[in-house]
Amino acid sequence: MNIFETIGRSTLRTGAAIWDVMALFFKTLYWLFFAPFKGKFIGRRYIFEQMVFAGLQSVLIVFFVTFFIGIVLAMQGAYQLDKLGAVRFVASLISVSITREIGPVLIALVVAGRVGAAIAAELGTMKVTEQIEALDTMALNPIRFLVVPRFLALLLMLPALTVIGDVVGMFGGFVVGVFNLKISPNLYISTNFQFLVMKDVMTGLFKSFVFAMIIAMIACYHGLNTSGGAEGVGRSTTLSVVSSFILIILADAILTGIFYFSSV
């Protein structure tokens, strides 16, 4: 196979995959927004279960990751700001960068690894053991029963986790600022909020909305398209995590660009 053939083939395959993910996305929106008017509701119990799994059980890991990132940012920021004699502004550096950028992206990556992988593995196993087909023959639509609750749960819980992560990250910075850099707590807190505006928080939350859709759709797509037994489930899980990581970073670059250039 020559190089053009390889490139052409993988382009076609990627194109088909994008098309399929979009189709899944629109079907999900249909079951979420239009089907309820036809009396086909989404079971509250399923959504609740997924919210507990995606949200509540992710709190601890989000707490750890953002807390330490806050600490690292504070030390790194202090090291550089010290040269300008502006160590105090470590607080604003952390609050703005965490709410706008680092919080949403990092938490999305953590959730893609924890929740996205679990979704892909679960749906993949259901696919290879005929459970998806069984749902379908019982006239229970797999998208309605499996995809929509996971989609909705991530859509609600990822921004919620981001809010928690933002606060915890700032607290991590606060710990370093007060105990290591000897900034007074009151001064630290006031500097923390000095340059932080509502728009920073909102753009961060908007990003995490988009990331949630990416994680849910990619994980469900790979899960539902699993074939080839246990090995196939492993492949789907890996693919799901890798492709959502790439897409999260890519979407972040695009969204940051849009926010940056629209505010200049």
């Binding site: 005929e130 087909e133 069984a134 379908d136 023959t137 006239a139």
Partner: protein, 267 residues
């Protein structure tokens, strides 16, 4: 006798290809109400593919599939859902939902498709479990059951909505002879007690002759012979004879022809 009966499933000239390979090559079948119809044939002869066409999982490349007298090869999703509520299916791997208990597995279709009270659903689940001889196992998860018990729970789930037809995909796969006999007896009981039409896909000859009213023998995507149990047992067709006796020698080739063998080896 058969001619007077009502036809519930009719397949006309069904053709299906996967990646250029013709898996089904002009299948014609009629299945009557209340009978137990076995589709038998070797691995990869297309018997499961036929089943997937009848339950709406696959669409034919050409030809027609009629279920309850209506053409389902062009039916929309909503219409197909209506049909799906009228039949049940027992999967080869049972396909129980791992995350739900036995009771929840069986009650799922009842809960989603009927407006019955919770306590009536509970009673119905108990009745279905009783029917498959698993009274008192409702609180267990599928991972805590043996293969034969899973099959029976799968069967209880398939009959949850009191279907008119039940499809069985390799009901004896992976089970020991005694459990196979138990499952076979259940299949016969269900079709007699509830007068359900049964369509069974299998290659287990012991099961076939225990269950079947009529049998279709499939080979390489074509129906070789259709007939009652006795007709098939006394068949003159060499293929059918070889399949029934399970002999390695006969027209059903397992080895490739010799002519190109040397060529292929040295290629």
């Amino acid at each position: 006798m058969a001619e007077e009966k009502e036809v519930v499933i009719k397949i006309e000239n069904l053709v299906k290809e996967f990646g250029g390979r013709r898996v089904l090559d002009g299948i014609n079948l009629e299945i009557y109400k209340g009978e137990s119809f076995v589709i038998m044939g070797g691995s990869g002869c297309g018997k499961s593919t036929i089943l997937r066409h009848i339950i709406g999982g696959l669409r034919p490349d050409s030809g027609k599939v009629y279920l309850f007298g209506e053409d389902i090869s062009t039916a929309g999703d909503d219409k197909m859902d209506g049909f799906k509520k009228r039949f049940g299916m027992l999967f080869q791997s049972s396909a129980l939902f791992d995350s739900l208990t036995v009771e929840e597995n069986i009650s799922l279709p009842l809960r989603e498709h009927t407006k019955l009270d919770e306590h009536i659903i509970k009673i119905m689940v108990k009745m279905k479990l009783e029917l498959v001889g698993l009274h008192g196992f409702g609180h267990l998860y599928p991972s805590q059951l043996s293969g034969g018990m899973k099959k029976r729970v799968g069967l209880a789930r398939a009959i949850a909505l009191d279907p008119e037809i039940i499809f069985y995909d390799e009901p004896s796969a992976g089970l020991d002879p005694v459990v196979t006999a138990v499952i076979d007896k259940l299949i016969v009981d269900l079709s007699e007690k509830l007068s359900i039409t049964s369509v069974i896909v299998t290659h287990d000859m012991n099961s076939v002759f225990r269950i079947a009213d009529r049998i279709a023998m499939l080979h390489k995507g074509k129906v070789l012979e259709i007939g009652t149990k006795e007709e098939i047992q006394n068949s003159k067709n060499e293929y059918v004879k070889q399949f029934i006796t399970g002999s390695p020698d006969g027209p059903i080739g397992f080895f490739k022809p010799d002519e190109n063998y040397l060529q292929e080896l040295t290629k």
